[in-house]
Structures are given as C-alpha cells and as structure tokens.
C-alpha cells in the first residue's frame, strides 16, 4: 500500500453560475508522477490553485495523508508539503542559484547573518539530488545565465529544500527546446527517485506521456479519465482520446470525409 500524499474528493468550484470544476476526484501517492492533461478551460489551473490553497473549493473534501483537513488554505497546503512551480515567474534572475533556493528560508546564524558555507553546501547537495550538476554552473552562478530548463531545475531544487513531498509543475516544458525538456525530465526523474511526487501539467501530450506514471484527463470541469501508463499503452492512444473528447467521433468522421471529397 503506497502512501497517499493528498486526495481530493468530489471537488466543485463555481464562479457565480459557471462551474469551473463539477466534482473532480484526484489523488497523488508517494513517489509517483501524475500527468494532468486537458484542453484549455478544462479546469486544470483551477485544480492547481485549489491544491496550492490559493483558491478554496466551493464544496468537496480534501484529505492529507488520509486525514480530512478543514479550512484549506495556502499555509495548510505548504504544511502538507505541496509546492507549486509556476513557469518562469518565481525566480529572482539577477541573484545566485543559492539565494534563489533559500529565498524566504535563508539559513542564518546569530544576528541573522547568513551561514554562507552551509547554504552553499546544502545548495550543492540539492542540485546533486535532482542531477542538476554542471562544470559550467555552481551554486554561486547567477540564475539569469541559466537556460529555461536549468531555471526549472533551480525551482525544483527549491521546492525540495522546502520539504515538498508533492511538487506541482505547471507547464514546465512550454517554450523549452528539446535538450532543455530532456533536462527537466531528468530533474523530475531524479526527484521521483528520491521519493518525491510530481504533478506534471502540460499541453504537449508526448512530454506528459513520457514522464508520467499515471494520467488524469480533465474535460470541461469533469474527470474524463484516470488511467495508468500500462493501461494506455502509447501517447497516441491518449491523444486520440483527447481529440475525441474535443470532437465527437461522428463530427470527426464528417470532417475527414469532407476533406476527402
């Protein structure tokens, strides 16, 4: 029996008359990578915001490690070990990797002075943990000199330092090159190997398919499918499923026959 980090049960969220989420279940276990996919407007970002505690669900139940939590908010989300990495927004790019990793949680000695060596060593250790090592960059490198994928690495390292058991990666590979994407995958795999869980959100189904163990498909605020990689078999199967969600089969057929005629 694997350790269940968080479980959402029948989560509904409405903005006035509009339902963003109409009863969604989601759970993430220790050490698994869950791919969250869905078209624009499917409710992915609302779900992430609820997990991060930035938005409160209208109704529904949230269980942290099996125990129901009331009054869910950002603070409780962090206490539960959930850290969200938003793409390219949460780093101070003119500062060093170390300063970014310890942002808001600096290791200080007496009088509030930094324990510079301890921080540097800890930063190196975290970077090693996710396989973020390079001859070119060290803990004292400026984040602005790093590529997009490496910046994601800094954000992941920071999430791990903050004791995150579940790291939510919001479209971490958007606008990244092939090699950069491979780097992010590498960090994710290393983090999983170290026992962390990842919720991976992406529009590129091939990316999501490659990295995830299990998939959650949202469609117009509802859970369309929960399926493991083994059950799915290939990325094409997932893409076909999502296309059929967007366009019912008969319309699709009509489109194709129309194109042929």
């Amino acid at each position: 029996m694997s350790d269940r980090i968080i479980e959402l049960k029948n989560i509904k969220k409405s903005y006035g008359q509009v339902y963003a989420l109409g009863g969604v279940d989601l759970h993430v276990d220790q050490g698994e990578v869950v791919g969250l996919v869905g078209d624009n407007g499917a409710g992915k970002s609302t779900l992430i915001k609820i997990l991060a505690g930035a938005v409160a669900p209208t109704t529904g139940e949230i269980l942290v490690r099996g125990k129901p939590v009331t009054g869910w908010n950002a603070e409780k989300s962090r206490a539960a070990g959930i850290e969200t990495v938003f793409q390219d927004r949460a780093l101070a790019v003119q500062q060093t990797i170390t300063w970014n990793i310890f942002m808001g949680r600096e290791i200080v000695g007496p009088l509030g002075f930094l324990r510079v060596r301890k921080q540097r060593e800890e930063a190196s250790r975290l970077m090693r943990e996710i396989g973020f090592t390079s001859k070119v960059f060290g803990p004292n490198s400026i984040v602005g000199q790093l590529s997009g994928g490496e910046r994601q690495g800094v954000a992941i390292a920071r999430a791990i330092y903050n004791q995150a058991d579940l790291i939510i990666l919001d479209e971490p590979t958007t606008a990244l090159s092939l090699t950069e994407t491979a780097k992010v995958f590498h960090f994710v795999e290393q983090a999983r190997a170290a026992g962390r869980s990842i919720l991976f959100i992406g529009h590129n189904i091939h990316h999501v398919y490659d990295i995830s163990d299990r998939f959650v498909v949202l469609d117009r605020g509802r859970l369309a499918a929960q399926i493991t990689k083994a059950e799915l078999g290939s990325a094409e199967a997932l893409i076909k499923f999502m296309e059929e969600l967007a366009h019912p089969a008969e319309i699709e057929a009509a489109l194709h026959s129309g194109a042929r005629a």
Binding site: R89, M103, K135
Partner: protein
Amino acid sequence: MTDDTKSTSAAPRTLDANAVRRDAEGTHADQSRFRRFLMDHRPAIGSLLVFVLMLAIFAIGNPMVFTQWSIYRAVLIGLPVVLFVVVPLVYVVTVGEIDLSFPATIGMSGWAFALVVQAGYDPFLGLIAAIATGLFLGFCVGWLVVYANLSSLIATLGMNFMLRGLIQIRTEGRSIALVELPKSWAYKIFAGDFMGMPLQVVWVLLFVVVCSLIYNRHRFGVRVHIVGDNPDAAQQMGIDIRKVRLQTFVFVGLGAALAGVFAVFINYTWWPTSGESFLLPGLASVFVGGTAPWGGIGTVIGSAIGAFTVSFIQTGVVGVGLSGFYVQFFYGLIIILSLLGHRWNQVRYR
C-alpha cells in the same frame, strides 16, 4: 583532419556530441580564482578605476598640490557626512525605490541634536534624539510609499519640501551655534583627531563595512536584493515585501540622522539648510558607484568609492587651477562617463 569539408559528401560522418560538449564546457570551467573575483566585483572595481583615473588626471594637471596630504584631508573631513546617506540609499535603490527626502531628514535630525545640546544636555543624548527623529521620519516616508502606495519618486520629493518648509517656518532661517561642542567627550570620540586622521572617517568606514556585510551576507540584505529583483517571487516564497521596503526607508532615516549629527560635529553649527546640498551629489554617488538604477543589484563598497569620487571633484577642479565655474561641468562629465562605463559592466538579466 584538414579534409573534413571534402569528405562530408563521400562518407557519412559520425557526429561526436560529447567531444563538442567537452570542448564548449572547457572554455567556461577554467576560470581562475582571480578572474572570478574580478567578475564578482566588476561594478566596485569599475568605480575604483574611475576614481584612480580622475585622480591621475588631476595629479598630472597640478603635481604640486596633489602630492600633499592636506588636500585629501580637506575631502576626508566632509566626506563622512555624505557617505552616511549614500550607503542606505544603495539599499533603497536595490529594493527598487528611490528616496529624495533624505536632505530634509538630515536637516531635521541635526536640528533635534542641536536643540538638545543647546538646552544643556549631553551630546550623546542629542545623538539619541537625532536617531529617533531620523527613524521616525524614515518610517513616515516609507509608510507613504509602501502602505499608501504612492510613487516613491514623487512622495519623497514632496516630503523633502514639506519637512524643509517646516524647518524654515519654525526657525525663520536662524542657525544654532554650539560653541561648547568641541569640549565635549562625544566630540572627541566622534569627530576628534587621531594622528592627523579625522575620527569621523574611522566611524564612517566602520559604517560602510558593516553595511556592506549586511548587504551581502545578512538575511535583510538578501531580501532587499530579492524584493528589488522579483517582488512577485519574493511574496510567493513568503517574504513580507512591504516590510522589507519599509525597512529600507527607515534605514535611510537612520543614515540621514547620523549624517545630520556629523554635519553639526564638523561645523559646530546647525544651519536650517543643513543637508540640502547633498541631494544631487548623494544620489549621483550611488549610480557612479555602480548600483543599477533598475533594482536587484548594487554595491555598497562601489557606491562608497563613488561618493569619494563625487566629493573629490570640487576640490580637484579647484586644486588643478581651474576656476569654480568648472565644477558643475566636471560633475556632469564624471557622472555620464561612469554610467557609460557601468552600462557595459552591468548585465541586466530577465
């Protein structure tokens, strides 16, 4: 090997990615310790170069004057006053704001000091009164910017006029002379003479060093950098960005208070215009020293050197034999040249 280009069409080449990568990484990895030091301290070293260059030009212009200690001493007497505000201004600029109210805070704090001493109390008590005044005014200015959400450029300019106006209304332009001040213990400790060196220089150097340490190695300094760099990120990671911003303004208040007191120590007199003349040289020093105008990065040591450069211009121009009419021109020239130099020095990452 030389036939590489010819052979491409004939046989398929093997692409050795590892060799290319090793080659590329090698060029970065071999940075010596010295080179890294230079890169890390580029702005400060740049402003030191500007200063040395300027000094060299002056010295060539008039070797007789610039080989004597007395001309440097003349600058050293006045320099501490401006340094006390330049250093905290580096913090404010790094956090992404500006403070133009410090001249009036210098005036107000010096006034508080002078009034306490004039009333017959010990100058140490006056110092405490001045610091309290400075902290309070810094808090007020910071509150207007951070919590009332006013533009720091306009709000601090307004505060500068208002506070200076208050001084003028109350004193009607009269100064306060403290003829007994040089006899006090406080004077001997803070502004006395130690083997030809004005003691205020020692104090201000201590101030600069401590502030530089806090800027680079203290939690407060780190957060000043981060808030100036990316306030959204700072907030997301649980940093109280309003508090950090407010603290930098309070810090300027503290620096201005010390500047105000030292100005009175040096002249034995407080004038209602005290501090006014520091506005533009003080600000210029921050940027001449290599602190970036857009926030997030800066250098305390560099800006202290910048203050030295700016303070030296007037003495230097006159010492070289030019009339006082040249001073403003050289102020401008040095500022522009320094900024051009830093432009190439500072990289703005986004």
